[in-house]
Symmetry: C2
Subunit: 518 residues, 2 copies
């Protein structure tokens, strides 16, 4: 463990007629013995406060040094060593921001918290926000507003978290930010125009770390702001975080990392090589497609099972609340259950006369819908339905997912059964049952122990960067190592996609554990 | 020659689906081949303008990189290479600021100019200003005002100089500042309180280079501001400049550098070692003591000679204007002349009955004064006089000077005749006749060719720093090499001072070329 910010005990010889070195130079010299004889740089606005604190404390105390990639930076001086030294890790999600306060001395996580992304008002999805950014609103641009909102959300998180720990936001000495490439652009107030236009180029992948005051962040003015670098528009810093948190880049065996958000982002590799791609496979799983879809929040049906003989449905909601909708993992369970109970066929179409569906199929628009929860039982005053359109959307989504996984592994000549682990990041990884996803043909038919949920690996990666010098070194190596494959123009992907639009697959030898009900 | 700021021609491969690196990262990568594979740091506020300029110019053009001590910093991008790239060298004098614009591409000096130091209103001498700095004036401090004034003077110089060259101040890419330690503190807005109180400690000797925008300097926002470091309160960056400009630190032979301003600052040494000291010897020579004393400006008597037989005086004024006063070199010539004409004795006291003084000695206060220029002839409507008090002040001053030189050489076991050169910096070096200073016993009795005027070596040193990487390396070495001797508490100095209060010296074997008229 070597934190981004370090404290060093100083006891310097006081100045005299025979030793008239300036205050700051005296401190820098005393510090250099901790820094391989290197003298730290002092930012201009810290000269006066640091030199004064050093003199006022009798030329002894404790110096705070931030380890920038180009060398140490002396930013503060304390008469007495503080008990904790706080850094903030931040997952800059499209819908939510999650942050933790980390004690940089012990590496301990002090607090965690989540707030809604203040940008939601300007668009729930990234593409809407990118277009909004170009607007002129009075003297401001849409980008200004998006930037201001995300900063306000961060300030609210910082205030809440520091309050719980009993310190001030101005005492936060480091901020490590992990998010997708668009969110990073909004945060950095960089023009996102080219992110969504071929050939999809960011303004910047890996900005150099900078001081909080440069972005008007209300932290310690010299708090270092460290951005997880992106590799492309569709391969953000959050995925780099995932690689670091999973350890994919350190293992001898080849493994896979899947992160499903707005897109499905996939990395395959080991300590010698890493290959990555991204594709549109997410919305159905995030609650963006199913009519009664919702995020994994209290009242969401998170799991369900249909008895293959009786057709009886049992479900479980988050927090045990009356059902309000279905989240991604619930939809996967449900459609897998409908297939195993033969209520839908391999194309995902309802079989109206199937006895297990008795009383549960109702007309809906031009087609049918399955009643998951009756109006009386639900928490929203109406029945919770899954329509044919919802299933069709999930089918496209699961086909895309499987095709992405098959294409990327095929590119590097790795078979699914060669994979040591499949890490599944985020809420998706936390909630889904890999078994049901396998039944659908969304995930490869591998033993369940291969699948490992990662939790919020975007946040975990940011936490690692704060406290672990080897993670910072790995980040640089990962950036240099990853090969990115663009699937939007990939012929193989399109062919695979067609074959994957059946349950579990047109080629059912690929899924030996899944019953085939033609 | 390797300027602080360099231009590099860039022609990068445009982005494509197969090469989706961000704009800024693409530029940094293209630059790294000029920088030993190192990627330059881009300051946060330059990300957007640099990336945009790079994209808008079709990913080719010319990048401006500043070579900071901790590595290269990319600050601008031009579609077409500019014909000149301008840096400003600045001598931050107590009474005047002198600056030059330097073309960082060719090393050529484009223009030079001088303005009065806007701080003069708050005190002509440094000590007054240091005390003024502690005042509260409304919401500001004296330091704020001193800082604002010196910045205003710099902005006026920058506007004038760039106007002559046909560019804007915002195009100045570097500023190298050389001045005494107090002036550096005022410029950097650092508290000068301890500079004039034992043990005389600066807040900072060598601040790290920083961007102009951090000090609200109206230059290019990322223009690097490079301060010549000081060694102590009485050994400023201007003297480091002098060492660099004279080449003292590169020569095999031992030489001496004398810089007379508010203090006399002296360095002795060669490429292996450097020893330095400073002492109060300056005021009489700067025009601060003699009643009719003035700076070396038009109308100042700069040279004069008294016929040893007739006592006839001939003088020469700067610019040939009617005499308004006497500057330092004039006072030296005059007192030396008075001695050689036996009008004053070895103690510097008037001999009232000496025929050569006939008609020129007039009562003045409790004693006498010598009429240098009659009221009719002078340009100020009254006679220009040199009083006994003026001579006494010069005697103390010359005694201090000689004692400083003798003490410092003795400290290192070097005899005066071992000195290869004696460099004399500034206006003092430009105007004085070493011969007359030798007659007075102010400078050692050495062949005149040993003495070399240096001109404004403070400015010359700053110019070197802008264009010459070896000068920047030497500056660091000099800082590490100089031993500073504090004369304020030096017993030997006090003894030598007593012996030096005669013309030329109590031990006249030290001045074999000077006639001895007891």
């Amino acid at each position: 463990m070597q934190s981004l910010v370090q404290l060093y005990d100083i006891e310097a010889t006081p100045p005299s007629l025979g030793d008239n070195t300036g205050d700051l130079d005296r401190l820098k010299k005393a510090l250099s013995r901790y820094l391989e004889d290197r003298k730290p740089v002092v930012p201009f606005h810290r000269i006066a406060p640091v030199a004064e604190a050093f003199r006022n404390s009798g030329f002894k105390g404790c110096a705070a040094v931030i380890h920038y990639p180009d060398g140490p930076r002396l930013v503060d001086f304390f008469a007495r060593a503080p008990e904790i030294l706080v850094g903030m890790a931040l997952d800059l999600g499209t819908t939510h921001l999650e942050a933790s306060l980390v004690d940089l001395l012990s590496g301990r996580i002090l607090e965690r918290d989540t707030v809604e992304n203040g940008q939601l008002e300007f668009g729930t999805d990234i593409l809407t926000r990118i277009h909004f950014a170009a607007n002129k609103i009075g003297k401001q641009t849409g980008l200004d507003l998006l930037h201001d909102r995300v900063l306000a959300s961060i300030h609210s998180l910082a205030a809440g978290l520091t309050g719980k720990v009993g310190i001030e936001p101005g005492q936060i000495m480091a901020l490590c930010v992990s998010g997708n490439t668009s969110m990073a652009h909004f945060f950095l107030k960089q023009n996102p125009y080219h992110l969504c236009r071929e050939p999809y180029i960011p303004v910047v992948n890996g900005p150099d770390p900078f001081a909080a005051s440069e972005l008007d962040l209300k932290l310690h003015p010299e708090a270092v702001v460290w951005i997880m670098p992106s590799i492309g528009s569709y391969f953000g810093g959050d995925l780099i975080s995932g690689i670091l948190a999973s350890g994919l880049d350190r293992q001898e065996e080849t493994s896979m990392l899947i992160d499903v958000g707005t897109n499905a982002e996939v990395v395959v590799g080991n300590r010698d090589w890493l290959i990555a791609c991204a594709g549109a496979a997410g919305p159905a799983l995030e609650g963006g497609v199913a009519r009664m879809g919702m995020r994994a929040e209290p009242g969401a049906i998170e799991h369900c099972a249909i008895d293959t003989e009786s057709g009886r449905i049992e479900y479980q909601t988050i927090g045990g609340k009356p059902a309000r909708g279905i989240c991604g993992s619930g939809v996967i369970d449900l459609v897998a259950g409908l297939y195993l109970a033969r209520i839908i066929d391999i194309r995902g179409k309802f079989r109206p006369r199937q006895p297990q569906a008795a009383g549960r199929l109702v007309p809906h628009g031009d087609g049918l819908a399955y009643v998951v929860v009756s109006a009386e039982e639900s928490g929203v005053g109406e029945a919770i339905l899954l329509s044919q359109l919802d299933i069709d959307a999930l089918m496209r989504c699961k086909a895309a997912m499987y095709s992405i996984l098959a294409t990327i592994t095929n590119q590097v000549g790795v078979a699914f059964h060669d994979l040591h682990r499949i890490y599944v990041a985020g809420a998706f990884g936390k909630h889904i049952s890999p078994r049901q996803a396998i039944v659908l043909g969304m995930l490869p038919d591998l033993p369940l122990e291969v699948y490992r949920p990662l939790g919020n690996s975007s946040l975990a990666g940011a936490e690692l960067m704060l406290t672990d010098a080897s993670a910072r070194a790995r980040c640089k190596e990962v950036m240099a190592k990853v090969t990115y494959v663009e699937l939007n123009v990939n012929q193989e992907f399109m062919i695979r996609f067609s074959g994957s639009r059946f349950i579990p697959h047109t080629d059912h030898t690929l899924f030996p554990s899944v019953p085939f009900y033609n």
